[in-house]
Symmetry: D2
Subunit: 278 residues, 4 copies
């Protein structure tokens, strides 16, 4: 069954669900699933509706814009997989997991290319016949390096950038350009252990739980809206290396879970938080 996804976000007022579902009903469409959330503090309304049936999308959107508040953001998700570029550095586990899911048609996205500042993941990527752009930073200023990235990304025109353990910081310019379209996996349960070497920090603090966080990238490092988190127990016998090893399975699963939500249009960003219709 082919379905369409309609997303609505606007200031809350009475009758919004009624109006949206009314338009779908009058066009003879069938609601497969419907999720709404009202943030009562901010008085904002969020809705994601999956419906089946054939109709003229433009007409639907037009009627919605007429009946909904002026500020309403209405989206009909494009009827195809999202195009993405994956960024990685040296660690294989997150990238490999995404390449595998992609190869088996479980990623809800097309991987256009992998970008890395190192060569080490080139053979793995080649195994899956995905283009690999090695853009080393050595001997380059930050501006030159980012220009090289922008050149690749600009040509490929991805909808999302996925940082699968990419150990470099992207410039504010790039981040702003891809607002709410860059997803990063950070190897700690944020906001604990921001910045470099979170497992080192965790071992030093003697925590009994470590975790991973997938979040949108904003200009404030590790401060963007959180999409998914998970944790695993550790104890005194875990060295930093043990933690990193145990953490890898959490990292890749959390990233995959977050991407599934994003690529299925299940995530709304509201200020610095996410609303997930799971």
């Amino acid at each position: 069954m082919k379905t369409h996804i309609l997303r609505v976000e606007c200031a809350d007022e009475k009758g919004l669900v009624y109006k949206v579902t009314g338009i779908l009903y009058k066009h003879g469409l069938n609601i497969v699933s419907n999720d709404e959330f009202v943030d009562h503090e901010k008085k904002r309304f969020f809705m994601r509706t999956e419906y089946s049936g054939e109709t003229d999308s433009k007409k639907i959107l037009k009627e919605l814009s007429r009946q909904l508040p002026k500020d309403a953001i209405v989206q009909l998700a494009p009827d195809r997989k999202k195009n993405i570029v994956i960024f990685a550095t040296k660690e294989y586990h997150c990238l490999a997991d995404l390449l595998l899911r992609h190869a088996h048609n479980e990623l809800h996205a097309n991987i256009l290319a992998v970008v890395s500042n190192h060569r080490v993941l080139a053979p793995l990527t080649a195994q899956f016949k995905i283009p690999y752009h090695c853009l080393p930073c050595e001997g380059k200023t930050r501006e030159e390096h980012e220009a090289a990235i922008l050149k690749v990304v600009g040509r490929l025109r991805p909808e999302f950038l996925v940082l699968a353990k990419y150990m470099r910081i992207l410039s504010g310019q790039l981040v702003r350009h891809f607002e709410n379209r860059i997803i990063n996996i950070h190897h700690s349960f944020l906001p604990a252990f921001t910045g470099a070497n979170p497992y080192q920090q965790a071992a030093q603090r003697g925590v009994k739980i470590i975790g991973a966080t997938a979040h949108y990238v904003t200009e404030d490092l590790d401060e963007g809206p959180i999409i998914a988190q998970d944790v695993i127990p550790v104890d005194h016998s875990h060295s930093v290396v043990d933690m990193a090893q145990a953490g890898r399975d959490v990292e890749k699963n959390v990233l995959a879970r977050a991407l599934k939500l994003v690529f299925e249009d299940r995530v709304f960003v509201s200020d610095n938080k996410t609303i997930l219709f799971d």
Copy 2:
């Protein structure tokens, strides 16, 4: 903010959300939260809507019954806490947890009485000033014992019976009378380890995870619709006694979680499954 809870269950068809929300909209009511689910296999529709605003409930119900399919079950949750009777035997932890939540106004229910086949929990119950009915089974036939129970229950007229580690089996008659209104906590992650001594069974099987299950009681022991489950890890060093001790915290939390869902009218029973709007 005072709110009302409307529940709708019926055969699925187009326009149901539209019709329900339309009636609320026309009466000037404000939807606080709204959850729907369509079981596409069984083609059944479930909806729970929390709304605020004053209106004539009877009018709303009448309009709903006119616009919804004939088979629709429409309920407006009564605007008060549920009345319940708790059944227990000798173990204190689930009963004590419910008494504590009740005393601190966190149970969403009035405990009318505690019924037990033993005296041991009488002092605990007395601490909380709740009536305790000790109905021993010794020297009584099953019929006589249940008649004694029915006499107490019949007089108190609870809406729900909560079996908080009640180690006796209720008769089919009682179960049928309280269809989908008796909640039991079973000390295993069902369907594993039904029946007596689940921790013994778990230790013998050498499982690495134990759990607890809150479910509606049906005539088939331990086979009723599951409301909530949770688990904890165990290992080879756990004796049966260790498992039982560790399991107690899971049991009481799972029962409390299930009761919160039930008493807030968040659970629909559909054949042998539950639909939870959490």
Copy 3:
């Protein structure tokens, strides 16, 4: 079966397990369970041995001190429950949980008294026939208030202080006096959200997981050695109040778990970390 618990901590060297078990063997004692850990980074050795059999403890300790390195800390756990004083403020859930376990002989400790800066938990404590010392801070300087606490504590001579949601900061003097003998429950997964209002902070940051941490109290607030942590998932629909409510069950379980470990002499503190023989 009556057992004894021997604890050894010293600089690591070859033959330590051999020497300790040799002494027990020669005295005809039977090792019930044995746990060792070597911190290879710090080159420190930790051992907890539970043994059965009757013997002269002083002789054992003397032989151990002769054979083990000079710096060795050797302890034979006293053969009785620990004496504790519980501190609480207004929230009932952790205190009630400990009172219940105590009343049912599951706490591995004697509660000598409850100390609070408010009256609100007096009736609950009275239900369990435990002395309640209400020591309000109103109209008192910090010094005067703490002097009042010290007077009570000094008279009762507890081995451990348990801060069961005690919302005041203890003075450095008191903390130093009870070094590694004050256990606090903090309502976040430390090191995230230290200080006041962690659920508020968590809601604001939009985390998808909240938690609780039991730790030893040191002079650095929320920075002491962590004993136990646990988490639960939350989502965008959780208000601060919802988080606090959901968090309470985690808090009480984590505190109870930590106390079990401490009171069974299963915890070693090594700098700012704990080693748990669970």
Copy 4:
């Protein structure tokens, strides 16, 4: 640091730890980590000791066999990775996970070959340059098919067989030959949902948690000693397909965790249970 692993299993008696550690001490060896467990019910002793230092292994084993009870099983783990053959059918996720870990030197095992009754996983296996033996069952009796397997396995002489979602039942003969050396991943939290289609069974029963179990294969299907288990929450909105998809990540992680334990010689089998020194 190069280490050796010594494993001892025997009837429990006094002085066992003392004797084992004494022999190591007298040979000037350094214990890196040491784990023991006494099953007090069965009166059996299990010990795993990791030590460093050079010595004559045969001498150590000889002395141990002289000092330990006659029935003692003493093993010095061979100082190399285990040789394994992986069996799979059509699902890629567990196989791919093991191939990836192997390629990145994280499996603690050499994959000698992959055996499958289908062609579908051949290209994936070829990506990792591992031999693939496609042994279809079509047109063959069970005996003929197993003979073909035995021929491959007999030639490769693996120490362990790993059933990574292999959907065929192995004969008693093969199972007996590889006693406690075949590890299977079953896609349910055993003992719930044994046999075929566990996700179907789980969906039908309406459970709120699904899981996976890695266990040794015995002649009783799904009844062998459990090594590792894990679970994830599900709800009414999960179809059988959703459950299977969500379950895959659990399956591969549980299998990888179990194999790590087995390949690092951390697992003892005692009747139908495992003792894990993790």
